[in-house]
């Protein structure tokens, strides 16, 4: 059992013939992901890393059973690509692309929900069911199976934390990248119930940051519904208000989205908040001991 994806998930890569697309197709295949089709308009009939390429997602879906898709298409065409995947029946669409207009993101997320599907991202590193299936751009070597479920707004910071956990002897069950944009398909409160219900997960680690109110909403949810222990690390304590810190969503505006508000909310909900990233494995040791 795993959440969202597992060893049987059949994955399509949109934009497979591009630099990023082909590089990460190789990486994902190396991790063991079942990539069975690629899409690249005008390139139908080719192969990338042994994966057949189709002109459209419908053409691919006519040949292969497909469950999930990962998008490496330029921001201006990402909405169309996501809708194409959803329309072809995909239930998980991972939108790696950065800089997607937020109105486009809202549209793809809303339509996904109507179709009973999920968009992961945009501007996410992806998600991985450790040892089973990786759909994303993160380094393969840090995801070994274990009992820690990780849900993160940022990529490299979560790699840091996952690697720290790994070094400390803790593997991961599922790691989900929410994405750094203002409107993303999965928020903490969408993933928390899945991790709570997942028998492979014993401990939940949240990697949050300033901006928005996703952490505050998560705190409310955790207080009411989560019985498993939760550790959080939040980035941006020292960030000045009114400035976007790299992620479109990482900004303190009109007094909203501050570090303090998030820490208070999470602490009140019984979440252990780490002050520095390397404290996460230490807290994990205390909890899992």
């Amino acid at each position: 059992m795993a959440i969202y994806i597992d060893e049987n998930t059949r994955v399509m890569v949109q934009g497979i013939t591009g630099n990023q697309g082909s590089f990460h197709t190789r990486q994902m295949l190396a991790y063991g992901t079942r990539i069975v089709a690629g899409v690249s308009p005008g390139k139908g009939g080719q192969e990338v890393e042994g994966v057949p390429v189709f002109d459209t997602a419908e053409a691919a879906a006519a040949q292969e059973r497909l469950d999930a898709s990962i998008l490496f298409v330029p921001a201006a065409f990402a909405l169309d690509g996501a809708l194409e995947a959803l329309n072809a029946g995909m239930k998980v669409v991972v939108a790696i692309t950065e800089g997607i207009p937020v109105h486009d993101a809202m549209t793809m997320i809303t339509i996904a929900r109507q179709k009973g599907a999920v968009v992961v991202g945009p501007n996410t590193f992806g998600l991985v069911s450790s040892g089973k299936c990786k759909i994303g751009i993160m380094p393969n070597q840090i995801y070994t199976p274990g009992s820690v479920g990780v849900v993160a707004r940022s990529g490299t910071l979560s790699y840091e934390i996952v690697a720290n956990l790994q070094e400390a002897g803790y593997g991961t069950s599922t790691v989900v990248g929410l994405g750094g944009d203002r409107a993303v398909g999965l928020n903490f409160i969408d993933v928390l119930p899945e991790l709570e219900a997942d028998p492979e997960t014993e401990l939940i680690v949240m990697v949050g940051e300033i901006g928005g109110t996703a952490e505050e909403e998560a705190a409310k949810y955790i207080e009411a519904h989560v019985s498993k222990p939760v550790i959080a690390y939040l980035a941006g304590k020292s960030a000045p208000p009114g400035k976007r810190m790299g992620h479109a969503g990482a900004i303190i505006e009109r007094g909203r989205g501050t570090f303090q508000a998030k820490v208070e909310a999470l602490s009140a909900a019984g979440v252990e908040v780490a002050e520095l990233p390397f404290q996460v494995p230490e807290l994990a040791r205390k909890i899992l001991a």
């Binding site: 809202m106 590193f125 380094p139 993160a152 990529g155 304590k237 520095l276």
Partner: protein, 371 residues
């Protein structure tokens, strides 16, 4: 991208949203001429920040001479760090009541959120929650007449006022969607009898969607350095400390700043070199940092997609080319770590393995060089 009030009002006019008669001016003489033409006017400083009223950035005058005088005063001001370069000279309007109307993005619901209140004219943060109507709009439905009726009902608007309000709401929503806005705010939305008038205009356009709006005038909020970084595809924020920071990934960069703070250091900037930056981009980022003349440089790389040897190579190149003397604290782990460390050793740098060692060392060096 925030628009100046006068730009927002130009957009409003495009969408037939009523605004007071007005002109944009850049000199006291132009202000006088505008007042001459319009009559009793209000002169408003055009700055990308709120609270300009409290800062004295708005003047009411009844004749061209006072207009010139006040314009001169305003054009000499700086509000919230922004120099006043434009003034909007507008006809004074009769105010029966001030409403508030905005459309913003609701990240939780992933949809536009309409905010409306009968208590306009003040900061919306100061209005009690109970006085604010919040109405999310499903993007696949769009704004529908029944939604406007419900909003009017909750506000308590009826008859001609409800009609005028709904009419304006539809236009504003259209603008919000078509122009890829993140925020459109009218505060106050003035009732004059049965008609409505947008007395102010705050519009923010999604930067990621600017490619769809080539005709829109670009407003630059960034500092020169931030702009340069932006043009290079790097996320950069100027800060006031002395430790230049480069990390890969926004969260990683933020966490690095936080750690410097934790150990008593002062970062000079936020710089996300990207999750998968190659030699070229890394070199550019480094050059940018050097231009700020920091006391210490901290480089924190967790190589996932980014290859450690690429970063080290880029650093070595820049170091040589720029004859770098600023102390550098390096952390380099992950993909191709050994090769990267080898390159660094070749140029006399011993990298650290953990973020905390790196941060502590950087803080220590920044204190030494400032002593």
């Amino acid at each position: 991208m925030k628009l100046f009030e006068f730009m927002g009002k130009e957009l409003f006019k495009d969408y037939a949203i009523p605004v007071p008669d007005g002109r944009v001016v850049r000199t006291p003489e132009e202000a006088a001429a505008a007042a001459e033409a319009i009559g009793s006017v209000v002169i408003k400083s055009q700055v990308l920040t709120g609270k300009r009223g409290k800062a004295g950035g708005i003047a009411f005058v009844d004749d061209p001479q006072s207009a010139q005088q006040e314009a001169r005063r305003l054009l000499g001001m700086e509000i919230g760090g922004f120099p006043v370069e434009h003034l909007l000279v507008e006809s004074k309007i009769r105010i029966d009541k001030e409403l508030y109307l905005a459309i913003t993005l609701d990240g939780g619901r992933r949809c536009p959120l309409i905010l409306a209140s009968l208590e306009g004219g003040m900061d919306i943060e100061e209005v009690p929650e109970a006085q604010i109507v919040k109405y999310p709009v499903d993007v696949t439905l769009g704004l529908r007449p029944f939604m406007a009726r419900e909003i009017c009902r909750r506000l308590g608007l009826t008859g001609g006022q409800a009609k005028a309000f709904s009419d304006l709401l539809f236009k504003l929503f259209k603008l919000f969607q078509e122009m890829d806005a993140e925020l459109v705010e009218i505060n106050p939305l003035v009732i004059s009898g049965d008609s409505l008038l947008a007395a102010d205009a705050k519009v923010t356009i999604d930067e990621d969607a600017l490619f769809r709006h080539q005709a829109l005038h670009r407003v630059e909020e960034r500092t020169d350095l931030e702009k340069k970084a932006h043009d290079l595809g790097l996320a950069y924020v100027e800060l006031e400390g002395d430790i230049a920071v480069m990390a890969n990934g926004a969260g990683m960069a933020m966490a690095t700043l936080d750690m410097l703070h934790y150990y008593g250091g002062k970062p000079a900037n936020f710089l996300d070199a990207g999750g998968g930056a190659g030699v070229e981009q890394t070199a550019r980022a480094l050059e940018l940092l050097l231009a700020t003349e920091p006391r210490v440089i901290l480089i924190n790389i967790f190589g996932g997609i980014t290859r450690c040897d690429d970063v080290a190579k880029a650093f070595a190149t820049v170091k040589e080319a720029k004859d770098l003397t600023t102390p550098v604290v390096f952390r380099l782990v992950g993909t191709n770590e050994a090769a990267g460390l080898e390159i660094l050793r070749g140029i006399g740098i011993q990298a650290y393995r953990t973020m905390q060692e790196t941060a502590q060392k950087a803080v220590e060096l920044s204190r030494q060089s400032s002593a």
